[in-house]
């Protein structure tokens, strides 16, 4: 019965979202507060109903209720409990339900915490959220219903795709959806502003925290997906420029741009129209990602649904929302008032530069992702656009941006002094250069490019530290005063510094792995050893092992360092899941500091040996540590409940030059 109640709750939520998408909108139009008042209870009820529905599906998974087709297709009674629960969203239908659950949760948050928003704005925002919810609920009910039943029920399920039977499934999709769907709030705010034809101060005050929350979650989601691919797929790669990865990277790039332009808008009331457009584009790119993953136009680890009717349905949603909002933008953008003016060399100017680079980079990735699809549609020819394209186009765009990052936070609002900022960054520049030279001469003389990359990474980290030091007045005031000021700095300053330093750490990891990685392949017999970047890897043999719903052959290795001391064991395995008749590779990974020794088993050789691929991945963990730092930076900034006003810097004519840097 609980399954059917879940189904009914979903249908009722759809009916309610139809009401939500019409009544408050009309209310705002004709000035009827009663109709606008529907928005709040409707949004909260939709969340309650969808949560009920999601809980019902989860119960069906936990109880292995194979009378539910979705459970039968994606679960197995012998599966560990964690994967029974994560399996709820490890498939197309369930993940759509999670997507909608998060959408409803965000709308309910706006309803609850948005009581200080102007009534019409709130009604319009919630109505747009209602439209998105209605479209996706209809999609789920019509073409991907997770509550379809089977009678009589089979006695055993078909099991979850073994690649997904991992803790990563518990973290990666929910975080990613929090990001994707979080941008829907920015989208709804933008569309509501266009419907009203005006953007007020409250609007700006609201959009930035939502962007920040969505961006932080998306950063975490992408990073988790990257780490998961790294250890699960057994190729040792962390980013493949796979179209589906790009689909998540695109909203990240435009979301990062949005984050920065929203700062300008909040503090200086400038860039309003551009921010509205970015908000629309960012959510559009999120929707595009959803379409690419679920329509079956791509084949990838992520592509679960290959049903063309679903593709057409999502394409229609895509056209309706993107086309509709852009048309609205075209008609109404002229009614929005443009914001204040600023000097090109200023904090605003720096943020505009950031936006230019980020949106161009996003456009590049978009072209690289869609080009093969376009070519195939037009000429039927299959081409693939891979890493070389992105390295050649994305790389040159991102390097100048990285170089410019430390300047941004040091520039004053409205009009800044580039020379003075450069002088302040001199120490950071010198230290980075010294580290790069040291790397070049001591660690690896081969690649000047690697040394340059490492310099860029440290430049970002020390630039962020410089920012903090200058803002707390180090060197200008006494140490205790500086410390007191440091502690008193607004949280958003720490957030900025942490996020920018995180970017540097990620760059460091990427550069180190790309330039200094060591790879070895050998056919090994038990007792054989090989040298991987100074570590001796000894193969102890293959041992069978029985898991709850799989069997595996474990290759056990012992590794010792240069001095010959044993450092530990690495277990790398080939698993076989009988329910799906599918093998997987489990990489064996040992961390040494921030570097890792990565071992993957290949095929058995005819003479009884086994192919072993081993990598030494120097500083690889920084890639993800940097992402976590960025995410934390976002979270800290989000906790800053202060209102932000960008106090403009005085013109030169003003008598006293400010003794302190302008505040956040």
């Amino acid at each position: 019965m609980i399954v059917e109640i879940g189904h009914f709750a979903l249908v009722l939520a759809f009916a309610l979202s139809l009401v939500l998408s019409v009544a408050p909108l009309v209310g705002a139009r004709i000035g009827d507060a009663r109709l606008m008042g529907i928005a709040e209870p409707a949004s909260i009820s939709i969340l309650a109903l969808i949560a009920l529905s999601f809980a019902a599906l989860t119960v069906a998974y936990v109880q292995s209720d194979f009378s539910v087709a979705n459970v039968w297709e994606n679960s197995h009674s012998a599966k560990p409990m964690l994967y029974k629960i994560t399996g709820v969203w490890g498939n197309h239908e369930g993940s759509m339900l999670l997507w909608i659950l998060i959408l409803a949760a965000f709308a309910a948050l706006v309803a609850i915490f948005g009581r200080n928003l102007p009534a019409t704005l709130r009604a319009n925002v919630l109505a747009v959220q209602g439209m998105i919810a209605a479209a996706f609920l209809l999609f789920v009910l019509a073409s991907s219903n997770p509550f379809e039943r089977i009678n009589p029920p089979p006695i055993e399920g078909q099991d979850l795709n073994p690649i997904l039977q991992d803790i990563g499934l518990a973290i990666h999709p929910p975080l990613l959806y929090l990001g994707y769907v979080g941008f829907s709030i920015c989208f709804s705010f933008a569309v509501a502003a266009l419907i009203e034809g005006r953007i007020d101060a409250a609007w700006a005050r609201w959009v930035r925290p939502w962007t920040l929350a969505a961006w932080a979650a998306l950063t975490g989601g992408i990073a988790m997906g990257s780490y998961w691919a790294y250890y699960e797929l057994g190729w040792g790669g962390y980013w493949f420029w796979d179209p589906v990865e790009n689909a998540s990277f695109l909203p990240w790039l435009s979301g990062t741009a949005l984050l920065h332009s929203a700062i300008v808008m909040e503090k200086r009331s400038a860039l309003k129209i551009w921010t509205v457009l970015l908000a629309i584009l960012t959510f559009s790119l999120s929707l595009l990602g959803t379409f690419l993953v679920r329509s079956g136009v791509l084949t990838s680890v992520h592509a679960f649904a290959t049903d063309p009717t679903r593709g057409v349905f999502i394409l229609m949603i895509l056209i309706a929302f993107i086309g509709g909002s852009l048309a609205l933008f075209a008609f109404r953008a002229s009614t929005l008032t443009a914001g204040g003016v600023f000097h090109p060399i200023s904090r605003e100017g720096g943020l505009v530069l950031n936006n230019l680079f980020l949106t161009t980079a996003a456009a590049t990735v978009l072209v690289g992702t869609l080009w093969p699809l376009l070519v195939e549609a037009v000429s039927g020819e299959k081409i693939s656009v891979g890493a070389p394209f992105f390295n050649m186009t994305f790389g040159p765009l991102i390097v100048p941006l990285l170089l410019a990052v430390p300047f941004g936070p040091l520039l004053a609002w409205k009009r800044g002094d580039l020379l003075a900022v450069s002088q302040r960054l001199f120490a950071a520049f010198g230290v980075s250069l010294a580290i790069a030279l040291a790397t070049f001469f001591i660690v690896d003389r081969v690649s000047a490019l690697a040394a340059f990359g490492i310099a860029v990474a440290f430049w970002l980290v020390f630039g962020a530290i410089t920012d903090l030091a200058l803002k707390s007045g180090v060197g200008k005031v006494s140490a205790p005063v500086a410390l007191r000021r440091f502690i008193g700095l607004p949280r958003s300053v720490f957030g900025t510094a942490l996020a920018h330093a995180g970017l540097g750490l990620t760059t460091l990891g990427i550069v180190a792995v790309s330039a200094l990685e060591v790879e070895r392949i050998a056919v090994m017999q038990p007792g054989d050893a090989m040298d991987v970047a100074g570590y001796e890897l000894r193969f102890d043999g293959i041992f069978p092992f029985e898991g709850p719903n799989y069997t595996e052959e474990q290759g056990r290795f012992t590794y010792s360092d240069r001095s010959g001391r044993e450092r530990g064991e690495i277990v790398s395995a080939k698993r076989f899941y009988p329910a799906r008749q599918m093998p997987t590779t489990e990489a064996g990974i040992a961390s040494r500091g921030f570097s890792q020794l990565y071992v993957a088993l290949g095929d058995r050789a005819p003479d009884g040996g086994i192919v072993v691929r081993a990598w030494w991945k120097p500083q690889v963990l920084f890639i993800w540590i940097g992402c976590v730092a960025m995410m934390l930076g976002g979270a800290i900034s989000l906790l800053d409940r202060r209102l932000r006003v960008g106090a403009p810097a005085a013109r030169r004519a003003t008598p006293a030059r400010p003794a302190v840097e302008p505040a956040e």
Binding site: E4, F14, P41, S77, P118, D200, A202, G488
Partner: protein, 357 residues
């Protein structure tokens, strides 16, 4: 019943929640600009705080204050525009009423079309614990399997399960079950012979080397094991030693007690040895098969392979009129012009049948 009550309560609850704001008579909404001015006032306070913290200088604070002050003045000038509210309007009430009414109509209508209201949940654990007499064979086997998964050392469990697997045609599982019983307890002649038979069955009736090895081990343990003797003889027959096979079967027949069920099997084996089934019997069997197939397709015409098989069978039996009639019926069933019909027409043409276009 509980389901319907819950569904009705949910619908009713949601309607009530929406009714609350509609029932409120008050329709005045605050001027949206009030919010904006509030934001600016907050910003002014923030500037004071920043100055107190020493984050900005008094000069900067002055500039910022002046900027915000200008914004407030600009807003106040445009103050009278954009006020919403007033008396409740009839159109609003109508829309509210339609909205509330649409909830039960849309939800119950859509659910009636897509849901399965009378179908209770089927949690696996409960199904496995329910009354065994009500359970399907599959469920019984699942129970036995669950029992064995929990107690994998129970050789007797495997003994019970193995013949059931054989009966259901799950020969691979049967072989594993017999082997498990042998491994856990001891290899008896019955277990070895059973495993051999399962291996042979999963090889489509061929006595493979593996299977033969099991039978021979069984005979070493118990030279009188009937099943193993029979299959060893069959293996000889399959290897082309018909004479030897016949001799072995005849020896067996002499040894068997009168009431043994194996008599019939052995007599049939001896009769069949070296001779194929008689032509008359074969034709009769084919006729029966074809008639059965035709009857099945009459009941369920949606089976391209079935039709193809039927048409071919009629041609083999040299009944082209029947083949022609079958093709016409199939075309009518799939609808002329459908891909299935096209496929069957092409097939018919390849056999020399005629098709009027």
């Amino acid at each position: 019943m509980v389901f319907w009550i819950t569904a009705a309560a949910l619908t009713f609850g949601v309607c009530l929640v929406l009714l609350a704001p509609l029932a409120r008579g008050r329709t005045d909404a605050a001027d949206s600009r009030v919010h904006e001015i509030e934001v600016y006032k907050d910003q002014l306070l923030e500037i004071e705080r920043d100055m107190a913290r020493g984050l900005i200088t008094s000069g900067e604070a002055e500039l910022a204050r002046a900027e915000i002050g200008r914004k407030i003045i600009r807003l106040s000038d445009a103050r009278d525009a954009g006020v919403v509210g007033g008396k409740p309007r009839a159109v609003g009430s109508w829309i509210g009423a339609i909205a509330i009414l649409s909830l039960p109509l849309v939800s119950w209508g859509l659910y009636a079309a897509t849901g399965s209201p009378g179908y209770p949940g089927q949690p696996l654990q409960a199904r496995l614990q329910s009354d065994p007499t009500q359970a399907s064979v599959d469920e019984l086997i699942a129970r036995a399997e669950a029992h064995l998964a929990a107690n994998p050392d129970d050789a007797r469990g495997w003994d019970v399960l193995a013949p059931i697997y054989m009966r259901l045609g799950r020969y691979g599982d049967a072989a594993t079950a017999f082997a498990s019983a042998s491994r856990l307890d001891e290899p008896t002649a019955a277990r070895l012979a059973g495993e051999g038979e399962a291996l042979a069955a999963s090889a489509g009736g061929q006595i493979t080397a593996d299977a033969l090895e099991r039978f021979e081990r069984a005979l070493a343990l118990s030279p009188d094991d009937v099943r193993s003797r029979y299959f060893v003889a069959l293996a000889a027959d399959q290897a082309g030693n018909g004479e030897q096979a016949r001799q072995m079967w005849q020896d067996m027949r002499a040894d068997l007690p009168q009431e043994s069920p194996w008599h019939g099997v052995i007599v049939a084996a001896i009769e069949n040895e070296g001779t194929d089934a008689s032509p008359g019997a074969e034709a009769e069997a084919i006729e029966t098969m074809v008639a059965g197939l035709a009857a099945r397709l009459e009941a369920n015409a949606n089976d391209v392979d079935g039709w193809q098989q039927l048409i071919r069978s009629y041609m083999v039996l040299e009944r082209p009129q029947d083949a022609q009639a079958a093709l016409d019926r199939a075309r009518a069933a799939f609808g002329p012009g459908s891909p299935e019909a096209g496929h069957l027409v092409a097939y018919g043409l390849s056999l020399g049948l005629e098709v009027e276009q």
